[in-house]
Symmetry: C2
Subunit: 461 residues, 2 copies
Amino acid sequence: MTAPFTLAPDLLWLDGRFQHGKAVRVDADGRIAAVVDDPAGGVRLPGRALLPGFVNAHSHAFQRLIRGRTQRRADGEGDTENFWSWREAMYSAALGLTPEDVFDVARWCFIEMMRTGITAVGEFHYLHHQADGRPYADPNELAHRVIAAAESVGLRIALLNVCYVTGGIGHDLGKDQRRFGAASPDAFLDRTRALREHVEASALATVGVAPHSIRAVPRDWLPELDGFAADHDLPLHIHVSEQPAEVDACVAEYGLRPVELLAEDGILGGRLTAIHATHLSDAEVEILGQSGASVCACPTTERDLGDGFLRGRDLLEAGVRVCLGTDSHTSLDFLEEMRLVEYNERLRRRARVVIAGEDGRGGLSVAPPLLEMATAAGARSLGLPAGDIAPGLHADLIAVDLEHPSLLGASADTLGAALTLSATPDVVRDVWVGGVPRLEDRRHPLEEEAAGAFARVATRL
Amino acid sequence: MTAPFTLAPDLLWLDGRFQHGKAVRVDADGRIAAVVDDPAGGVRLPGRALLPGFVNAHSHAFQRLIRGRTQRRADGEGDTENFWSWREAMYSAALGLTPEDVFDVARWCFIEMMRTGITAVGEFHYLHHQADGRPYADPNELAHRVIAAAESVGLRIALLNVCYVTGGIGHDLGKDQRRFGAASPDAFLDRTRALREHVEASALATVGVAPHSIRAVPRDWLPELDGFAADHDLPLHIHVSEQPAEVDACVAEYGLRPVELLAEDGILGGRLTAIHATHLSDAEVEILGQSGASVCACPTTERDLGDGFLRGRDLLEAGVRVCLGTDSHTSLDFLEEMRLVEYNERLRRRARVVIAGEDGRGGLSVAPPLLEMATAAGARSLGLPAGDIAPGLHADLIAVDLEHPSLLGASADTLGAALTLSATPDVVRDVWVGGVPRLEDRRHPLEEEAAGAFARVATRL
């Protein structure tokens, strides 16, 4: 099936609800041409609902390797583990990877993403150098491998090129962080420029700028990185306030909390996405809302790492656009990422239907805001013309099986809630990216080859 | 495939870890005969890990009908919804069901359970009477339908016959609770006796006693119900402290919190399972631990209803056996039930590997306690000789696909963690109950018929 074509599902997610009798016309260039009524001659998708593909705004693909490997503690090693001991295990995995491994692990991770309905990823890429810390002959070698992996799978990718300088505020990089470093803002921006040229002809890849965090980038580098992003209209991503210790260090050094610092230095604004933003003061929530910035929550990772609870409803009420990321890939179930934003609020507030938006039936329902986080908010964060079903946007689409056991009994009115709160991820049957079918009936053409290559890396490490 | 046979998987869950080179011999009576080494002539299960089936200790099968239907609020109806408004919607669904509907909804729900690896269910059954409140000609009509549904699917069932008397402490049943009531302890126990006779010849069904809760059963009925359970060695299940309002009402009326009351009246003990037990004082945690009672957590329901957080680690440290239930079936993913016990603790405590047990490699891992909750603890709660792989127990077994994308890269050492924290529920490929294959390659022979019948009920209501 090659575009142009018209996809005519039983139900289409449009204007915050599922609608019958609508179809999507896709142009030969892989963009959405129009939403049309009662099409004749379209490609019928019986028993399917069509939605915009999910946008995964924060990923470290290589961390898929350590799934299941950090869930124990050696006896006598204390009462629990924590984020920081997890990070050591993650660094250890990062040190062992060859360029071929980086490709193999990312390719598999991207296929697994597609199986849960993800059509675009923001890859927060900080693994730059050789295992001994020296740059590769092409300093973007590993970024190229990650991009090639996404292109081979057919996944849209925003390579968020990470600037990583210090091992903590004012501290040199640690020995096990030697593959991440940048020598100067110029050196980092030169690499970023070269990456932009590298993807110029790509139908799937774009580039963004990602100062790792307040703890890993000197404060006086930030304006230059932000200026570069502004000059080229690129997204700017930064980890913010994932752990209390990080907030404390920022306050101790600068007398400001991380979001306050970003505001004071003029970095906050519509192009910025604060990753995690878990430990925010009330004032920081307000500042974020006024700035037009996005927050990227990574709920399954944040629960795995014991980070703490997102202030989901507070952020939304303050006007922050909240998007979602799978981050460490401890699981790959984008429906679970969505529902945790609502469910963690229910547990904390002892209430139901906490995050809700107009459902087109005179009420408020959980599905519109959760699906908006998973689609349009992510696309905005990554600067992609995608994340919605509207003319001119990329035809990045997913088809959901209405006869799947977990959805059985849902009507057009209740499907949104059943999908976001109750369905298992294998409801996603088909995926198109840029109008090209990539996953058909849950099968990706590269699945076996990619699984074999990934398993070989996993066994070796 | 008919027993006797020997199942020889790649990995067997045995003594808290996955082991190579072990097989399970199943007798002609559907019980486990032995665990044997390096079998010849066994049924090879390549690419499979074999585990005891999961025991779902708390279910209201008919609530599967309202999945997705209570996730909105009418505009202007306040800031959020809550448990009590959800309950009204649930009652409304209960009022519309015919006996045939009860069978059809339960049958579908039980098939969906089996797809997530559940081999036995404790069905907390309180829907007893006709829609107008009068008993059926056979007062156990609806219980028979639920049991028949489980038997048709091949699921083991403990029918926990519910005694429901008041609509709140000292209040008559509400109008929309008219299908639940019991006129006297004798009337209730007569029905329970008849149910026991009904299941006498069943290979799959047993019976338990379930005073609904402190709020729904007069305090002076409890000793008689408990005495009956003790005389016949039956499990005793009761909802405890799901909502703060329920605790407050108990304190106001009796000057005791629910667990304190159960202790004072001599009801607490090894046969009792407290369902939910969310809002416990420190003293109640201790009392539960000393009593030998079980607690059944229902994490996906408790998050859906905004109940609050289980004190998981506190309970385990006090010596309480914690088992799991899917309760309202807002989702049916038993792996998610397991992982939420650990993950909610991580979020609250900002730590990792909070609930951990000896992993046979000199360390502590999340998998042994989470899988114990899902299997042996549930079987104990329901009084079933099941929930483990050991001679004499029911051959209730599940095979997990080691090549499933979500498990790719796991080794024997990390599989337990990957399964409990990271896998999607479709890793379960095959299910045996009582040595009989019930689900093969994720297909249940009744799936299409049962789905059609369920969908007809869902559409009508």
